[in-house]
Amino acid sequence: MGSATLQGRSERATIAALRAGRASLGDLWRYGRPAGMTALILLLCFLSLYPMVMLLYGSLHSTPPGIPGTFNLDGYLGIATTENVVVLANTIGLSFVKTILALALAVLLAWIVARTDTPGRGVLEVLITLPFFIPPILTATAWAMLGNAQVGTINLAWRWLSGSDTTLVDVYSYGGVVWHMMQYSTPFIFLFVVDAFRAMDPALEESSRMSGATRWQTFWRVTFALMLPVTTSAFILSFIRGVESFESAVFFGTPVGIEVITTTIYHSITQRAQPDYQSATALSFAALALMFLLLVMQNRLLRGRSFTTVTGKGYSPNITRLGRLRWVTFGVCILFFVLTVALPIGQLLLSSFFKFFGFYQADMLTFDHYRSVWENSSFWRAFRNTMLLGVAGATATMALGGIVAYVTTRTRWRGRRLIDILAWLPWMMPGMVLGIGFLWGFAILPHQIPIYGTLWALLLAYVALGTPVAVRVTSAAYQQIATDIEECSRVHGAGWWQTLGRILIALAWPAFAVGWVLIFFGIMRELSASILLYAPGTEVLSVVMLKMWVGGKPEEVSVVGLVMLVLVLLFRWVQLKVIKKRISTL
């Protein structure tokens, strides 16, 4: 009895202490939230709005910042030409076709990997995503050798097999541009949707099946419909990225007269005696306006609908047994891997051991390219810088993206829409133009702020460029998690931060891991801003690769590309085997 009384007193004391603690936390929460929101808005303004304002100035001023000139609308008036209408049609057409095809293929592959009993799904998941991580300049070179009309390996093999002198494929065409872009879009979208497929309560599909729907009807009306936030996000991200794509068009389009917005901007900035920044930035803002319309459409499509699939109820992933068909799905994945990875990477790997790319003669066998890269001090310095920026940048970006996504999807706080827009802005501006915005913006900062010419300049640009992806990845995952789990956590006494960490982040962890990898390798590949912001001593890999490429050393670029691929395999292995098993059980 005495001990029971003591225990009761102790509990009351504990509760009182907790209440007192909660009251002070509540005060902190009450005053801290507006302060936090203000800080978040200011940070996003600096990262995305500030360079955009610099660019807007550039589009409305006859000269770039720092040179006397006048404000006018010449940049905008100048883009209304027939030539630019064709460019716009090309850009939208190419991006739309490639995004539709890539989305269909990515959803199919994600379904195969996440929801069927196809053999070797774990390995297939890694293999399917590999093309995304290969520098586009390398796959473009490989495909130029494989698919050129005159002496491309595929056409030579076709002529030898068929005895005809016709051409089977020609990468220098609209089809070539679409195909090259698809190699990046498909794994990109796949990475977005595969975890969403996994995080789906099969009860919904089972209900559909029990109500008499066919497997196809269930896939289309339930599975696909529930995936709308993820698929539309991926579609829009990929479509916008397609509009801003440069490498595919410049390699395979420009030689046959196919111009897109980015090649036109590139022409305005780098191919004229007097760079025309006003025209380039005006064209970019016109493209931005178009892309903004897309976002509005997505919002209208998703507004008022619920896409919750992860609830408080337990469930186990539903795997569709395909029987013999599983070998067909296995074949589809392998075919994708062969076409997008084995062929181009095989060509790169092979070429890295010969003196010249594409010349496979015994007397040209060499390890010189590996030795040259190994002994290149610039490469190692850039490697260290890139690793540092990659790890720090991806982590900071995911942290920022996770917070922004939380505010925009899980709260009704004032200012959340502004935050959403601010986080999106960098994605809607072509990288080569945004790089100029960063250059202008960072250079004019007071000299006491040590950003320009340091690694900070690169880090901040990378965080800004990666935030839209981080936000989309995490917000799509958040949207699948029912609010009742969160409320349950809060009711049981967990604080906001605890709930964020123990519930939302723990449940959305696979998406965080995917986002981190996407951003890390985005940083490794980023060139447009890097070339304008690096200083002696802060070189990054993409800059070193550009130097090798322009310096006539594509074989050394291949070696660096292969090193990056090994890193990808390592990261993906860690992500899939270690993180998912150990950390997702937080």
């Binding site: 720092g66 780098t270 130097k547 322009v550």
Partner: protein, 334 residues
């Protein structure tokens, strides 16, 4: 006019860097060593020959060179925005003559004072008080030896107008800054507009991926490439290609050295410029296929290069009419 020139010179003198007034070169070298380093902005990306000259400079003087490499327009924009923001980070600027001319017009440079080796510069090149010629890129034709028999090789630039080359020419784009634009201007000046109208009818395929273009020809996608930069020949040795300088000569474009405004290491910059014009440095470039700008170097170059460099320098582009010529190229090559 004379008054304005005198005032200009006086003004140039007043904004000059703070080096020893007596201009005793030994004192300049000592001051340079005390500065200890210099920062060079260059549009020559990934050039091993450039690095070889830098290395020899570092070894000779113990002055470290920090290199910032980017494309011509990117270098120009960086310098412009840095200087307008009051950031004076670079010392030596190295870029094509057109970009250098534009930047000089915009006031991005300062007079370098005196550099002893400028006296060795040979015609048609000459140094001003701001701009020093550095090396020269020469352009010619390149053929695939497996696809073009010696008898069929073009001997004159006009030979590429033969219908047998129709659809078989891979080319740098004449409508954009670079070797293609230089070729366009020089051919226009030499043969007139008709040359280009006939060449347009040959339907040349344009590509801006220069390094890859040369390899595409080597692999047999196209038998003929132009304009081929001679300095790339070294990188392609062992491939079935052959550079050909036609009878009329070779178009060229000059790279220049300048001192950036308010350079933090002006003495090191001067010593570097002087080193760049040393016959040994120029020989490194000449052996790589660049035409040297000082006398007595061509004679010492490797035999296979000497013959190509000894050919006539046909002409080059001029910055004043660059945009007009690019526009004309756009009209002809649609």
């Amino acid at each position: 006019m004379l008054r304005r020139s005198v005032l200009g010179l006086l003004a140039a003198g007043s904004v000059g860097p703070a080096w020893a007034q007596g201009d005793d070169w030994a004192k300049v070298v000592d001051a340079a060593k005390k500065e200890g380093k210099l920062v060079m902005y260059t549009a020559s990306i990934g050039s091993v020959f450039h690095k070889a000259v830098i290395k020899s400079f570092e070894q000779k003087y113990g002055i470290a060179v920090e290199l910032l490499e980017a494309r011509a327009s990117e270098v120009r924009e960086r310098v412009r925005v840095e200087q307008s923001a009051g950031r004076f980070l670079g010392d030596v600027h190295h870029n094509g003559s057109t970009t250098t001319w534009l930047m000089n017009r915009d006031g991005n440079f300062q007079p370098y004072g005196s550099v002893p080796n400028t006296k060795n510069i040979i015609a048609p090149f000459s140094a001003s008080n701001v701009v020093i010629p550095a090396e020269v890129i020469s352009y010619c034709l390149m053929v695939n030896r497996n696809l073009v028999k010696p008898a069929d090789e073009p001997k004159s630039w006009k030979d590429i107008l033969d219908p047998k080359w129709s659809g078989k020419i891979l080319s740098d784009d004449y409508r954009a800054l670079g070797g293609g634009a230089v070729f366009f201007v020089v051919m226009y000046d030499t043969f007139g507009k008709e040359f280009h109208e006939q060449l347009a009818a040959q339907k040349p395929v344009f590509s801006r991926d220069l390094a890859n273009s040369e390899r595409r020809v080597a692999r047999g996608e196209f038998p003929l490439y132009l304009p081929f930069s001679l300095q790339n020949y070294n990188n392609l040795k062992g491939l079935p290609i052959k550079p050909i300088v036609p009878a009329e000569g070779r178009p060229y474009v000059r790279f220049d050295l300048t001192m950036l405004k308010n350079a933090p290491h002006p003495n090191a910059a001067r010593v570097f410029m002087n080193h760049y014009l040393e016959p040994e440095s120029q020989l490194v470039f000449a052996n790589a296929g660049y035409a040297p700008v000082v006398g007595g170097v061509v004679e010492k170059t490797l035999e296979e290069i000497r013959g190509l460099l000894a050919t006539k320098a046909m002409g080059t582009t001029t910055p004043e009419r660059q945009d007009a010529m690019l526009e004309l190229a756009k009209q002809i090559y649609k």
